[in-house]
């Protein structure tokens, strides 16, 4: 199957359409590539995915606003719909249900997976964003699917992914997980008790194909939480945020001059750090917090004019209120050392 590769120039042109919020041109470009021989799978993996990665990068770098990001995502979504009309697959592989983890509202990645699975001949039911676990359970019970694909993009929703996994498995249906939240390998997927993990939609299609011929033992490795610390951390979140804000006041006297909105934002930021901490503890994967979240957070804050040193100071305040949460404290300590070193380097 000889197909023209989609070049970086094409991706750049596509992102320009997104930047101008020009849906028609974006659709026209994708359909033109399709006419020229690109398959739907090529368009998804070679054009739409790289474009959305660039969208995320521009938001993180403070070049694009939240509104810009949403507008661009809506256009990519419309393009995906337009090219999907061209899928003419047999749908004879079996039925598969694709859903976002409970709490995960970013549905475009899951939608891309759904369309690639259709290309591979699967009859796909896409349930949409943030499907409540009880809905998922009721649904898979009724359709008799070969498997359920649970997509999760933001790690703070991995606890929701755990509920989604367990809901489908309770009906005896195996669960395949994927998405950026699961990281670079299958460690988090295994810790959450999923039956399979796929790094990309094509790998997902192949694994489901194997399941069709040889169904896996569902829930063979049940979610093995090391201890209750992530759950206790989640339960204590409101008080911990307030206590950490008080600690921050001691360290940053200038906070006293913050208005209500600024204080609310600061609370949200502290809560966000806590939620990533919980996700790292839940999956017992420190990389999630140290290698993925903290560099990203530092980039987001510095691109918005804050000094890099704000991260280790914020972590210090949080660490001071985490008595009784030894694993969380350990991660905070390691995070402080890392971010302090990086702040000094920059």
């Amino acid at each position: 199957m000889q197909q023209p590769r989609i070049t970086t120039a094409e991706v750049e042109r596509f992102v320009d359409h997104l930047a101008r919020r020009d849906r028609r041109s974006a659709v026209r470009q994708a359909l033109g590539l399709s006419e020229a021989g690109s398959s739907v799978q090529d368009l998804v993996l070679g054009l739409l995915v790289p474009a959305q990665v660039e969208v995320g990068r521009r938001w993180a770098a403070n070049r694009w606003s939240v509104a810009d990001e949403h507008a661009a995502t809506a256009i990519t979504d419309a393009v995906l719909a337009a090219v999907s009309w061209r899928i003419e697959a047999a749908e004879d592989q079996g039925h598969v249900v694709v859903t976002c983890a409970e709490g995960e509202w970013h549905s475009l990645p899951a939608r891309m997976v759904a369309e690639v699975l259709r290309v591979h001949g699967w009859l796909v039911t896409f349930l949409g964003a943030s499907t409540p676990a009880n809905h998922l359970r009721r649904f898979v019970d009724e359709v008799g699917a070969v498997g359920v694909v649970v997509s999760c993009s933001v790690p703070i929703f991995l606890s929701g992914a755990l509920r989604s996994i367990q809901a489908a498995q309770a009906e005896g249906v195996p669960v395949l997980v994927g998405g950026r939240a699961f990281g670079p390998d299958d460690l988090r997927a295994r810790r959450l008790g999923a039956d399979g993990w796929a790094p990309d939609p094509v790998a997902a299609a192949h694994l489901l194909g194997e399941w069709r011929h040889q169904p896996p033992t569902v829930g063979k490795q049940p979610a093995g939480m090391r201890d209750a610390e992530p759950l206790e951390l989640e339960a204590a979140e409101p008080e911990l945020v307030e206590a950490a804000i008080s600690e921050l006041f001691l360290r940053f006297p200038s906070l006293a001059g913050y208005n209500e909105t600024q204080l609310a934002r600061t609370r949200e930021d502290v809560a966000y750090i806590l939620q990533f901490l919980e996700a790292a503890l839940l999956t017992d994967d420190s990389r999630l917090f140290l290698d993925e979240f903290l560099p990203w957070l530092t980039g987001v804050l510095t691109s918005r004019g804050l000094p890099a040193a704000v991260v280790p100071v914020g972590l210090e305040a949080l660490g001071a209120v985490l008595d009784g949460f030894p694993r969380a404290q350990d991660l905070i300590l390691r995070g402080r050392q890392l971010t302090t070193d990086r702040a000094l380097d920059s």
């Binding site: 507008a71 256009i75 337009a82 009906e171 609310a264």
Partner: protein, 270 residues
């Protein structure tokens, strides 16, 4: 009908002594084993007997019940109501359509809940702590009701009672049903957005342009790339938030589908 208790022994007094493993039930009904297990667990549809060795065995009667459920499903029933119907738990007549059955069950639950309501919750004038707009009480006066709306109007529960929960379920159902129907008739993308915005408001939420979004906003755009992105907003842990999280994902998927079909027909027209 004689039902063998779970854990009992195979009895020849059943008049249906031939037993089979679940795989045989699956083969005869065309269902998968996990689905049958789920129906047994959830709806009590199958009544296995145990062999001396503790293995479950099924009888003709179980096969007949599964086939009866499949027949109802073929007639348009959802699996849950059909299985409950066959398992003998539902009081609806076999001829009832799914929508009638659902409405009947909701009303039955509502009436029961109202009967069970303690008298002190009828303190007049107190606004419901549910945060539910009073307009939702209108749902209780829907035609075909066999309830007593006069009684309902006097009820002001202090906390989320079973009655309030039943009313909310009905309100959720009606809000989503109305929105889904409206989506079938859109002539522009903007109309789809307006329908979603109205549904969000009816469920107790608000909407905000994405340019002003804070962390209370749900990160999902209701504009489908047509004009300024608009996000739903609801306070975390509020009733409105819970309701939005229950029904909005499905509703937005339906709206997206309607928008896709609209754009598709526009593209085909020229």
């Amino acid at each position: 009908m004689v039902k063998a208790e779970s854990g009992g022994v195979v009895s020849s007094q059943d008049g249906d002594p031939v037993t089979m493993p679940i795989g045989e039930v699956a083969r005869r009904t065309g269902m998968t084993v996990p689905t049958l297990r789920a129906w047994e667990r959830r709806y009590g549809l199958l009544f296995p007997v145990r062999t001396a060795g503790g293995h479950r065995r099924y009888r003709e009667e179980d096969v007949r019940r599964v086939l009866a459920v499949l027949e109802l499903v073929r007639q348009g029933w959802a699996v849950g109501p059909a299985a409950r119907q066959v398992a003998g738990r539902s009081s609806a007549s076999p001829a009832a359509r799914p929508a009638d059955e659902l409405r009947d069950r909701l009303w039955a639950a509502l009436e029961q809940a109202l009967r069970d309501l303690p008298a002190e919750t009828e303190a007049a004038g107190e606004s419901p702590a549910t945060g539910q707009p009073e307009a939702s009480a209108g749902a209780l006066e829907a035609p075909g009701s066999s309830g007593s709306p006069g009684r309902v109007a006097a009820v002001r529960p202090r906390r989320r009672t079973a009655a309030a929960a039943g009313r909310q379920d009905l309100e959720l159902l009606q809000a989503t049903h109305q929105a889904t129907r409206a989506l079938l008739y859109i002539t522009s993308v903007r109309e789809a957005t307006e329908i979603l915005v109205a549904a969000v408001q009816r469920l107790g939420g608000t909407t905000i342009p994405a340019s002003q979004a804070d962390n209370w906003a749900l990160p999902i755009d209701l504009s489908f790339g047509d004009g300024e992105p608009i996000l739903p907003v609801a306070e975390p842990l509020s009733l409105a938030r819970m309701q939005l999280e229950q029904v909005l994902p499905g509703l937005i998927e339906d709206a997206r589908r309607a928008v896709q079909l609209l754009r598709r027909s526009e593209d085909l027209d020229g």
